[in-house]
Amino acid sequence: MTSKQSRRRPPLLILPSLAWFIVFLIIPIGIVLLYSIRHKGAYGQIDWHLSLDNYRRAFEPIYLLIVVRSLWLAAYTTAICLALSYPLAYFMARSSDSAKKILLALVIIPFWTNFVIRVYSLKLVLGENGTINTILMKLQLITVPLQLVDNQFGVSIGMVYNYLPFMVLPMYVALDKFDFTLMDAAYDLGATKTQTILRVLLPLSLPGIVTGSLFVFIPAFGEFVIPDLLGGSQSMYVGTLITETFLKSRDGPFGSALSSFLVLFAMGAFMFVLSRQAAADETQRLRPLEGPALTPAADAGVSLHV
């Protein structure tokens, strides 16, 4: 009834968001794509000589190395977030209703602080004269300050710290809907704890794991602020590469080509996961946990500002 009505009437209410998407998404991506096939001329001007040279250039070994390094950073950030989030989300889901609210707030509160400030304060905590080193020195556990920042370690800490909630929230949403009597049923049928986790808990919380991993992996792959602030000068990642190509080399066309790759990669990963889930739904016709609708933050009744 309602769907028929809405089909007959022009959907006026979606016009504002449609306009928004066209102005701020479709057109910019179009501009980026157009730039990526143009050329930086000898004097820094952008030529109308159209070719795929920029894309070819992106496959040079020096850039591939950066891509691989970024993939590796994104992969282990995702893995560490997953390992930390799962027990936490499980614990939250099994807590009483009032404890749930408090724990959820604790996960979200850091987001009320500006992202750059948060990352910068990590530099203060981890730095040579930072909190951790001062304490360790005072306790006389170390004599020389540890190098905790301006290296790969600092970047890793910053990445995990920043992306953890993106993993916790979808996971919590999935586990909160999990029927824990299924675990009793598994024990009852002779499953050990490990078997119960592998055969019942994990498969049924898979949608949360997948969503959380996407939420962490995709932005982590293109991250540039955290490596920039906490990684010192040595390490170059895809995000930093694009920033520098635009701002330092002033090579807009090549930067655009790199950006297009990033967008394509994110979309590809997304489509792949969605199609896999759709396929699983089709074969089993199951909706075990009503797989988080890719908006776990909204589901959990919170919003994130990064």
């Binding site: 299924l182 024990y187 078997q195």
Partner: protein, 402 residues
């Protein structure tokens, strides 16, 4: 002797956090091959008992034995006990076959054996054509059958059933009751069944344990708990009943039979035959006197050999009367409710405004034998002293069903 026992509870107490006692000092045993039921209102501790058998809960104190061996510290997956859960707890990510095969897969049985046993079980409950179906595609009754064979395929020594029929509609429930009963006889497995439905417990069980607020009030065959309830709680919970209470004293009934007179509050003195099997309550002790509605006869006139003056005493106060040599109890009241059930009619007689009405069940055998009963008219409720049952007064702790 003890090898005949499947399960024993010895002084088992279970407390949850905050010192909430859910099961108090329970001792009972279940024989091999028995269909044993826990019957009680919700929150009486019956499900907790079941979970202590399956190992999902650990007793705070006391011993749980299976085939003579103490199993307090044995993890559920090592017990040869399987459960049919209240809402079935079927695995939504697995199809019917894989749900049933789950237990065998956990025990790493060979694939051929798993297929053979699962197929045989599904055939037994006529679900052989559903193997590839997902759980969401099944009706309530079908899910119930899958849950049942998922547990039974592992050939448990004890099958626990936690209100497995509660979610089904009446017709389906009756059908499943018959199937359960037939299955249990066929397999000879010990069944321990939890329910709050007294009809279900009486129809299915060899023995019933009636629980109230963490205690077992009585264990007995369905006939015993119905015909000889041990406490007023049991009398009220199992079937409809009239309960009177008051201090008891010994008396002689007509014919010199030893009897008990109970001085009830408002209903006058009521009589019961003294049961040799049960101890006589100490004089003055408050006891319950129970009479089932179907034992009460409705009369338009006072029974013979009744002096009008005594029968018409204030508020229908009764007398020990002896028509034909039996001591009978007589109460007089106004007909306030009449419910036609088909084979029987249930009647409520209001004796006095401040007292609960008397419930009687009249068999509709011959239309002519019984004068049609009119609302608002006054009638006599009559029953033999031998049909009164003396019970211990249970403290009114748990809410009772109406």
């Amino acid at each position: 002797m003890s090898d005949q026992l499947e399960l024993e509870f010895e002084h088992v107490t279970k407390m949850f956090t905050g010192d909430r006692v859910v099961v108090k000092n329970l001792s009972f045993s279940v024989k091999k091959g028995e269909f044993f039921s826990f019957l009680g209102p919700s929150g009486c501790g019956k499900t907790t008992c079941l979970r202590m058998v399956s190992g999902l809960e650990r007793p705070t104190s006391g011993l749980v034995r299976m085939s003579g061996k103490v199993v307090n510290d044995i993890h559920p997956h090592k017990r040869n006990v399987h459960t049919v859960f209240q809402k079935y707890a079927l695995f939504p990510h697995l199809n019917v076959f894989e749900n049933v095969a789950f237990g065998l897969r956990m025990k790493k049985r060979p694939a051929a054996e798993i297929k053979e046993r699962v197929d045989r079980m599904l055939r037994m409950v006529s679900m052989q054509d559903y193997t590839r179906r997902s759980i969401q595609q099944l009706s309530g009754g079908e899910q119930q059958r899958v849950a049942l064979v998922r547990a039974l395929v592992n050939e448990p020594a004890i099958l626990l059933l936690d209100e497995p029929l509660a979610a089904l509609d009446l017709k389906l429930r009756e059908q499943m009751q018959r199937e359960l009963s037939a299955l249990q006889k066929q397999l000879g497995t010990t069944f321990i069944f939890v329910t709050h439905d007294q009809g279900e417990a009486l129809t299915l069980s060899d023995r019933v344990a009636i629980m109230n607020a963490g205690n077992i009030e009585q264990i007995g065959t369905p006939t015993e708990v119905y015909e000889q309830p041990a406490t007023t709680f049991v009398a009220r919970f199992v079937g409809t009943t009239n309960v009177f209470s008051g201090p008891a004293s010994q008396t002689n009934l007509s014919g010199g039979m030893p009897g008990v007179a109970v001085a009830t509050d408002g209903f006058g003195t009521l009589f019961a035959k003294l049961d040799e099997a049960r101890p006589l309550p100490a004089a003055g002790d408050s006891v319950g006197l129970v009479v089932r509605p179907e034992k009460i006869r409705i009369r338009v006139t006072a029974p013979a050999a009744t002096s009008p003056s005594s029968a018409h005493a204030a508020n229908g106060a009764p007398e020990a009367q002896t028509p034909g040599g039996h001591t009978v109890n007589v109460l007089r009241g106004t007909l306030i409710e009449r419910i036609y059930f088909g084979p029987t009619t249930q009647i409520k007689l209001q004796i006095s405004d401040r007292l609960p009405p008397i419930i009687a069940l009249v068999a509709n055998q011959t239309a002519t034998k019984m004068p049609s009963l009119k609302m608002g008219e006054r009638y006599y409720a009559v029953w033999d002293a031998a049909d009164s049952i003396l019970v211990a007064s249970s403290p009114a702790t748990a809410p009772l069903p109406a």
